[in-house]
Symmetry: C2
């Protein structure tokens, strides 16, 4: 009960008119529809079950990371955004993203993921819009990320530009 209270106080059901996915309130998972209405809810609450998050990352094939470090990373991220399917009094974690930041000029978005059951319905875009809205509301002007080759076009649809003015993303490897 306490969880739901704090959870909803920092969450929003923002997306209802943004993509078609949210308008179907009788949509069941994988076509197994029933009469319980469900909605998609976004939250910046950090109190995320690490095992549920691990399951989500497993589902897209990401390699496992020590939960101790995931916990620390969540604590020290500037923004933690999660996306939930809510049905009656049940909720399921279906999307996640986080950002590091200096709280002033720049933010860098990491770990963007949507559960395969919910991909290609506009939810990844809705999650990113939610993240960008939150970052803008904090007056962060320089929003960056590092995109795997297969998702460069996904981010491009949202206004992200690769290598603007020749600026190169670089990764350090010990020589």
């Amino acid at each position: 009960m306490g969880f739901w209270k704090t959870w909803f106080s920092s969450s929003e059901s923002v997306a209802t008119n943004k993509t078609t996915a949210f308008e179907d309130h009788t949509r069941g998972d994988k076509g197994n529809s029933n009469a319980v209405s469900d909605s998609i809810v976004f939250s910046t609450e950090r109190d995320i079950d690490l095992y549920e998050l691990e399951e989500l990352c497993d589902a897209v094939g990401w390699s496992r990371r020590p939960l101790r470090k995931v916990k620390k990373a969540i604590e020290h991220s500037f923004l933690v955004a999660s996306m939930w399917q809510v049905r009656g009094n049940k909720r399921r974690l279906i999307g996640f993203a986080r950002a590091t930041s200096d709280h002033a000029f720049n933010a860098t978005i990491w770990d963007v993921v949507v559960h395969p059951d919910f991909q290609s319905q506009g939810l990844g875009k809705a999650l990113m819009k939610y993240v960008l809205k939150k970052l803008r509301s904090e007056e962060i002007s320089n929003v960056t990320l590092f995109a795997d080759p297969h998702v460069v076009d996904f981010y491009r649809t949202m206004g992200f530009i690769p290598d603007p003015e020749g600026i190169k993303g670089m990764f350090w490897y010990p020589q």
Copy 2:
């Protein structure tokens, strides 16, 4: 006095045998040598005079930023590294870099700068080595940055790779 005490407690004169620049203890600025010995000192102390930092950024032609935001950014950076020329009891800020991080997996380095009077002597490399050493000591494995085109090769000499495995640095601009 208090400043110097706390400052030196978190600072290191690490670079003496790393580049030729530090070995010449009688080197004067701009060839105007004198007998006072000077050394280059690195620090992670955050208590940096914002006007002195602004002067350093002015010297390389960076556009001015509100000091209130610079202060906030320094407070919320994971690592703030500064490089000082120390002569007797005088010190001058000659280099700066900072990094944002989730304190667990990744760090992103921003605002790397060496004063023009001190460039091309290996000091930028020494400053970056200091930053990388600090990040590694915190078990950060993924060190990233966004390099302007003219400094891609500078970072390359230190082991940074542009677009590894096709990963693209991307910047968001409102559509």
